[in-house]
Amino acid sequence: MNFTKTAWKNIRRSPYQALAAILIMTLTFLAISFFTFLLVGSSKVINYFESKPQVTAFFRNEASQEDINKLENQLQATGKIASIKFVSKNDALKIYREQNANDPLLLDLVTADVLPASFEISTVKIEDMGAISNMLNKSAIVSDVIYQKDVVSTLTTWTSAIRKIGIILVILLSLVSIFIMATIIGIKISQKKEDIEIMKLIGATNWYIRWPFLTEGILYGVIGAVVGWSIATAGLLYASPFLESFLKGIPVLPASNIDLLTLLGLEIAFAVFLGAVSSFVAVLRYSK
C-alpha cells in the first residue's frame, strides 16, 4: 500500500527517532513478556502444589471406619475439597517400605499396627487449607494434622506481589511508550507541516494525511513487540536447563511453543493498539 511506502520512507529518513521509538516499544514488550513468563510459571507452581495432597490428617488407632466415613462426608459437605484419599494402615506400611527400601533394619522394626491410617486431602483453593485443617484438628478421631502451609502461603504472597509489580510496571511502560511515540511522531508531523498544508490545499482529506503517521506508529509498535518477545523467549530458552533443575520436577518447563506464539500474537495485537493510540494522539495534537 501507498501509506506503508510513505511510512517506511519517513522511518528511513529519520533513523534516530525511529530507533528511539522502537527501543521504548522493545523495552515495554520485553517487560510484558518477562512478567508473563514469571506469572504463568508461578501459577503453574501453585497449581502443582494445589493438586498435591496438601493436608494430611492422621487418625488415632481407636478411630472406627464408621467415624472416618462420617468425617469424610462432613469434609465433602464443605464444598472446598478437591479430593480425599484414605490411606489405611497397610497402605501406609507399603509407602513406608518403599521409602525405606534400602534400610532393612527400619523395615523390620515397623509393622502395620504402628503406623496410623490417614487422609490425604487437597482443596480446590489454596486459601481453604487453613479452614480444613482447623476442622480436622477439632475432630476427636484425628491425632495430628500436617500441611505445607508455609510453602504455599509464601508462594501465594510472592505471586501476588509479582503480579502487582508486573501490572504496574507494564502500565507505566505502556504510558511512557505512548508519550514518547506521540512526541516522536509529533516532531515528524511538525517537520512536514508545510507539506501537509500543501497537500490539504490540493484537496487531501484529513485521513489521507493521517494514515502514513498511523501506519508508522503501528509499525514501530509491531517491530518493538517482535524484538521484545524474541529477546525474552531467547532468554527463557537459555535459562531453561538451569530453571528445570531448580524446580525439581515441578512441571513448569519447557514452555509450549503454542503458548509462546499465542503470547507473540497477543503482544502484536497490543502493539498495534499502542502504536495506533500514540500516533493518533500526535495526529490530533499536531495537525488540526
Binding site: 501507498n2 507539506d195 498544508e197 500543501i198 497537500m199 490539504k200 490545499l201 490540493i202 484537496g203 487531501a204 482529506t205 489521507y208
Partner: protein
C-alpha cells in the same frame, strides 16, 4: 461559474482585506484580476478554495456554496479548482514528476492512469525532459510550469493562477500567459491575478481592477478596433519572446 456576492474579509488586525466585493465569472471565461500588491487578489483566491472564510457575503464556485460547505466537502471543492499558488507550494523533496502526480495520488487515481495523465500534463507545459529533476534544479519559468501542470492534472473546470508571472522576465511571462490562454481554449475557466500590465494589455480579455480590497472598475477589454491592433502586437511580442527564450536555452 464563480460568483462573489458582497464579500468582505476583515483580518484579525481590524484591517479590511476585502470590502463589499461582488463579481461574476462565467464558464469558459479568461479573467485577469489586476491590482497592486496587497490589493486583495490572493485573498479572493484563498476564499474561493475555502482556505479562509469571509467575514460577510456569499461565494459560489461551480455551484458550491463555499461559505456553508461542510468541512468534509472541502477536499472535493479543492480537487475541482486547480490553483497555481503565488509561492507555488511545490514539494521540494519530490521530483517534478512526483509533484505533478501528487493531486492524483491524493484523489486516489489508479497508478497506471495517473502516470498517463501526468505525462500528458508535462507534455502540455513542455517539461517532459525535466520530469526527474527536483524543483530547485529548474529555472523560474520551469517551476512555474510545474505548478501549472500540477493544477491541471485533475482536469479542474476552474484554474486560478496567482501571479504566475511574478518573478519572470517578459519573454517567459509571455510563454506562461500563452499556456494559460491555451488551457482556457480547451474550456477551462481561468482567473489570473497579476500586477503586470504589459502582460494583460494585449490579450484582450476581461480585466477586473481591484485596489485596497475594492473593485475599482470593471473594464471590458479595449474596444474592438483597439483589440484588433493589440492582437497583432501580441503576435509580434510572442514570436520575439520565443526566439529570445530559445537563445537563452542555447546559452
Amino acid at each position: 461559474m464563480i460568483k462573489l456576492d458582497k464579500v468582505s474579509k476583515k483580518f484579525g488586525t481590524g484591517v479590511f482585506g476585502l470590502s463589499d466585493v461582488s463579481l461574476n465569472v462565467d464558464k469558459g471565461e479568461f479573467v485577469f484580476l489586476v491590482g497592486s500588491t496587497g490589493a486583495g487578489k490572493t485573498t479572493i483566491f484563498r476564499l474561493l478554495i475555502r482556505d479562509t472564510l469571509p467575514t460577510e457575503g456569499n461565494i459560489l464556485v461551480n455551484g458550491w456554496d463555499v461559505v456553508n460547505l461542510p468541512k468534509n466537502k472541502i477536499p472535493t471543492l479543492r480537487k475541482n479548482v486547480g490553483v497555481v499558488f503565488q509561492d507555488l507550494k511545490l514539494l521540494l523533496d519530490r521530483t517534478v514528476f512526483e509533484n505533478v502526480l501528487l493531486p492524483l495520488e491524493v484523489a486516489g487515481a489508479s497508478a497506471e492512469e495517473a502516470v498517463k495523465i501526468v505525462e500528458s500534463a508535462l507534455g502540455l507545459v513542455g517539461l517532459t525532459e525535466h520530469k526527474d529533476k527536483f524543483p530547485i534544479q529548474l529555472s523560474g519559468g520551469e517551476v512555474q510550469r510545474v505548478a501549472i501542470a500540477r493544477a491541471l492534472v485533475l482536469s479542474p473546470e476552474i484554474l486560478l493562477a496567482d501571479e504566475p508571472t511574478g518573478n519572470l522576465d517578459a519573454a517567459t511571462s509571455w510563454e506562461i500567459v500563452k499556456l494559460l490562454s491555451d488551457i482556457n481554449k480547451r474550456g477551462t475557466t481561468v482567473v489570473m491575478a497579476t500586477h503586470n500590465r504589459d502582460v494583460i494589455k494585449s490579450l484582450g480579455k476581461r480585466i477586473i481592477h481591484i485596489e485596497k480590497g475594492k473593485i475599482v472598475d470593471e473594464e471590458k477589454a479595449k474596444k474592438v478596433s483597439e483589440k484588433h491592433h493589440e492582437n497583432k502586437d501580441e503576435k509580434g511580442k510572442l514570436s520575439e519572446a520565443k526566439s529570445s527564450s530559445a537563445e537563452e536555452e542555447k546559452e
